[in-house]
Symmetry: C2
Subunit: 429 residues, 2 copies
């Protein structure tokens, strides 16, 4: 791995906005689904997934979901149920209540929280079909109280129209009752605008390829979308007490994701840096996804040597990593100085996969430096707020003049008169 | 006003994505500021605002702010201080705490909340310079604990380089210490990328013209942005007990904003509808901004007659209005059936200007039907979350096998090995 000075290191990579051709293809697909509905959905499914369906086959049946349960192994089912319970428990703690502030003059001001009504979760097909991501997208929406959660996922290509049983089971365990076998930009368009078969949603979330990402971007405003994820990142902050084999294993668990993934060690110990470099090489050679992990390590891996812990923490905050592990003598003592990180894994036993799969916090995290201003997926993402304003007659009489002063200063006379007409009537009443 | 059946009425208008020429102009400005910094800022300020400045004049001085206080009238100062106190008090109630869940096996899972570090607030110049909007953008950020809040606003055109003293005073009252006289797409680019004079921010908020909106859209991802507002809307839900003069005054307070503003009455009482139509005409003729208000009423105003209150409420929920007033015999009883609305004003004395200026809840609200999934500006918009994950050795030993099962199912062997290497060492220790 490259060894660099921590001082000036930053980490930001380009967001992929797609080629003009990709943008044009997505625009055409979205427009076709918006105007033609199911007919366009089925046409693009035939073109892109090489599966010929009719409308009645779009929705996954109850018996298909039951059949999926018979095909997944018992160990997986136990593990995913345990994971789902942990994720649910964590996200339930994020729930908030509506509140109201009642004042002596009768004024009531408040904030009402209500779940979104209908949410669509996109689940990619093929290699990128991760049951864990199904849980991480669906459960926060479910905990928020969203009554209608719908999953879309492309049918297996080549005429079989099946869906990975592990995905169906994960979705069912998370509580999804409505699933459609449709993917790509056409699925996103259907969720945004609705078709005869698929009613429209209020928000679309979940990862996908560049076409899915561009389609989500293009329907933003018609519906809400989640953020568009960049490649995955880990930063390990460690001192001389860290175990180089653990550090290396954790860096590689990120590097195996894809060639663009980034794995960085920031350390105050040059000796640890050297030992980790050796361990990364040793473990890398033994990995089934060695090629991917090696490209990631060569392209985006680094060992940053910092003079002091302060300098090391500055580098971490500049990078604002998606995942941060802290393996130092007293890791909790550093927590307050970490300003920017999606998820913080503390101590030698909090390896990143603990959070990726199981512990409960969400694994969908801000990438590409956006932890400066963004948050992990959470229950708030599926809740909307409304302000509540109740002014009594007394409150209006007491405050009306100030309100008119401000309205008139801004040249909004009709605003002032909406108050004045009430003051005049009530004062004369 | 047009009288329509409520049944099938929906309200969604097009978002303005700008012309190709406007997009190209913004792209050029943003790129120039990104690469040339202050030089480009000053050049565009000279071109667009016809004011020639040097770098040292960009920042508004302390003495200029003091001078502004001498120029605003006392009634305004009293009113804006009262409003600021109300807004602060309301938004303080939105504040949340970091939390942690400690389990018997030593596991600690939590959610850390931290304010964004630096936020930029755009304030338009000229007619659209609203002191109330300064408060509504700045105070939530300040309550959230954002340590650096910076305001940008264009200098008065034509060589004077001054800024409306009311804007300076509102910003100072809200707590802004750092203000720059620069506007347009160039100001947004400076906030996103930073220049020698203006350090970059983490989030940009505040309204502006189409160039400002397009510039914000183009830097989204580099920084966070707030939502891009559409024209303002009010829906009044009323029955036969409502006062037609109050209803008409409130509709017109929205209509005077701009020609695209929308003001709609939904009522179960045809008699009220007719009376409101008469009142709107009567009051309209007396307004200084009659022309604007009339265009708005003619283009986007409507009186919807519903058969039943259920039908009326359905229409409201379909429209998902920015502002909703409820003037019925028992307005609080309907609150639970309102699913979608940015702010809900209850009863005859809660006229919309009460909330626009003064009561405390934010006046920056979701427009154009986005109240289905968006919220008023609030403290959460200036806070980011990080997940905290601490697994003890015991917790990892107890759960490691399930984690490996899930990782291996997804073909991510390096994830499994990051757990396995720890289990092997600790079980053999």
């Amino acid at each position: 791995m490259r060894k660099l000075r921590a001082e000036q290191f930053g980490l930001t990579r380009k967001v992929d906005y797609g080629s003009p051709e990709q943008n044009e293809a997505v625009r055409r697909i979205v427009e076709a689904v918006r105007t033609e509905g199911d007919a366009a959905l089925l046409r693009y499914t035939e073109q892109h997934d090489r599966v010929k369906l009719d409308e009645s086959q779009l929705r996954v049946t109850e018996s298909e979901i039951q059949a999926a349960y018979d095909r997944v192994d018992a160990g997986f089912l136990t593990a995913i149920r345990e994971a789902a319970a942990n994720i649910r428990k964590f996200h339930e703690k994020q729930m908030r209540q509506s509140w109201v502030d009642v004042q002596p003059d009768g004024t009531m001001l408040g904030q009402l929280l209500r779940p979104l009504k209908r949410v669509g979760v996109y689940v990619p097909g093929g290699k990128a079909a991760y049951p864990s991501s199904v849980l991480m997208n669906v459960i926060p929406a479910q905990v928020a109280g969203v009554p209608e959660i719908v999953m879309v996922t492309p049918p297996a290509t080549g005429g079989k129209a099946g869906i990975d049983p592990y995905i169906l089971v994960a979705a069912a365990e998370a509580g999804v009752k409505e699933m459609y076998r449709v993917g790509g930009a056409q699925a996103v368009a259907a969720l945004a605008y609705g078709t005869a078969t698929i009613p429209p949603v209020d928000k679309i979330c979940g990862p996908g390829n560049i076409y899915v990402a561009l389609a989500k971007r293009s329907v933003y405003g018609v519906v809400a979308i989640d953020s568009i994820a960049g490649p995955s990142e880990i930063v390990v902050l460690a001192d001389e007490t860290a175990d180089p084999a653990y550090v290396a294993a954790d860096l590689l668990s990120q590097a195996e994701h894809d060639e663009m993934a980034s794995a960085i060690l920031v350390t105050t110990s040059e000796a640890l840096g050297d030992a980790v470099a050796v361990e990364v090489e040793r473990q890398l050679a033994l990995l089934p996804r060695e090629g991917t992990a090696r490209q990631s390590i060569d392209g985006y891996g680094a060992i940053l040597i910092a003079e002091t812990m302060t300098e090391a923490i500055d580098a971490v905050n500049r990078m604002a990593p998606e995942h941060l592990e802290i393996m130092t003598a007293e890791p909790m003592a550093l927590l307050g100085r970490i300003e920017n990180a999606g998820a913080i894994f503390v101590g030698p036993y909090s390896s990143e996969p603990v959070g990726d799969y199981y512990a409960g916090p969400n694994h969908i995290l801000p990438t590409n430096g956006t932890a400066r201003f963004s948050s992990p997926v959470n229950v708030d993402d599926f809740v909307k707020k409304s302000s509540l304003i109740y002014y009594s007659k007394d409150a209006l009489l007491a405050n009306g003049d100030n309100i008119m002063t401000l309205a008139r200063h801004e040249g909004l006379e009709a605003h002032a008169r909406a108050i004045e007409i009430r003051l005049e009537r009530e004062r004369n009443a």
